[in-house]
Symmetry: C2
Subunit: 190 residues, 2 copies
Amino acid sequence: MTEAIQTIDETPLRADAARNRERILAAADEVFSERGADASLEDVAKRAKVGIGTLYRRFPTREALLGALCDERLLALAANSRTRDDVMDPGASLRAFMIELAIHASHYQGLAVQLGTVLKSHTTGCHAGTAEGQRLLQRAQKAKAVAKNVSFDDLLCVITAISLAVEQGGVVKSRVTHLVDLFLGGIRLR
Amino acid sequence: MTEAIQTIDETPLRADAARNRERILAAADEVFSERGADASLEDVAKRAKVGIGTLYRRFPTREALLGALCDERLLALAANSRTRDDVMDPGASLRAFMIELAIHASHYQGLAVQLGTVLKSHTTGCHAGTAEGQRLLQRAQKAKAVAKNVSFDDLLCVITAISLAVEQGGVVKSRVTHLVDLFLGGIRLR
DNA sequence: TATTAAATGGAGCAATCCTCCACTTATATA
DNA sequence: TATATAAGTGGAGGATTGCTCCATTTAATA
C-alpha cells in the first residue's frame, strides 16, 4: 500500500520525505473525518507533527491532498467494479458503481462539492475511477441499457448531487440508492 | 419593490437603516456578481459605503444576505409559475419551474451549494419559491405525471446538482434543460 | 568523511470573519 | 421647537486561516 499511490510521478522521495508524506496523509484523514474536508491545514500539519511548509511542499493545494487521500479508495472501487462484470448485467453494474461512488464522495463532510475537481487531480486512483466510470457507461450504452445522449459528465453531476444531499441531510445508503434509482428510471410516469 | 421584500418582520426600520439596507443589497449584488457568492463581506460593506458592523447588524449571516438577494427573483419566479397553470399541463409546468430554479441558483458563482440553506432563510420569496415547488410536484403527482415516491427534497437535490454543474462547466441553458430532461425521463432505456 | 541537493519548520504577511462598544442620529413626545 | 432615548453606526481589534520564503538541517552519494 505504499509505492504506486503517489501521483504519476518523477523522482522517488527521500526516505524522510516519504515518511512525512504518509504521516500527513494519516493526519489529514483523521482531521478531515472529524472536522470535514475544509478543516484547517495547519491543524493537519500539527497533527502530523510536521511544519506547515512541509505539508505545502508535498501537497500544493487542498485538492491535491484530497486527491491523494481518495486514491486508495478509488483504486479499490474501480477494481471492485471490474469484478462485477461477470455477475451483473451492464445496467446493474453501472448502478452499483454510481452508488458506491456517491457514498465515497460523502466520506468527508464537504468532499462532494469538490468531487469534480478532485477527480481531475492526477492520481492513479482518480484516473482509474473516471476510466472505470466511462467504461461502464459505454458498456451500458452499447447494451442499450442507457440512452446514448448521456455523458459521463452528466453522471458525475448527478453523483455529486446525491452525495451533496447525503451530506446535508445526513442520510444514508438507502437515500443514495433511492436517488440513483430515480435518476436511472426517471421520475416521469408513462 | 420596497416594502414586502424584508424578512417576515417585526418593527419597521428607521429611515436611515432602511436606506442602508438597500445600499447593502445593491452592493452585495454587484460584488457577488463579480466575485461570486463567497466574496468578502468587507468588500460589500465598502462598496455600500457602510461600516462592516452595519452589514452584520442587518444580515447576521451570509445566508441571510443571500436570502434577501434571492427574494425578489424567487417571488417573480413563483408568480411566473402560477401563470403557467392555464397554458401548460402539470408535467410541463413542473419541468419549466425546475429549469427556471436551476438557472436562478447559478446566478452567482457559488450560490448553488447554498441553495438548500438559502431557501430556508425566512424570506417571503424563499417561502413562495418552496411552496410553489411543492404545489407543482403534488399537482403533477395527482395528474399521474410524476411518480409518487418523489419528494420535494429529491427535486431540490437534483436542481442543486444541475446548477452546480452549470457553475463548474460554465455552461448554459441548453445544458440545464438537458439535465432536467434526463432526470425527468431517466437515463435507462426501456 | 565530505559534498550537496533535498527536505524541513515556522516566522510572518495578508485576507477574512465577526464582535464589541463609544459615539451619532432619527423620531416620538412634551 | 427642544429634548430624551431607542435605534443605528462605524471601525478598531482579536481570532483564524492560507500560503510564501528562506536560513537551517539531513539523507544520500562518492
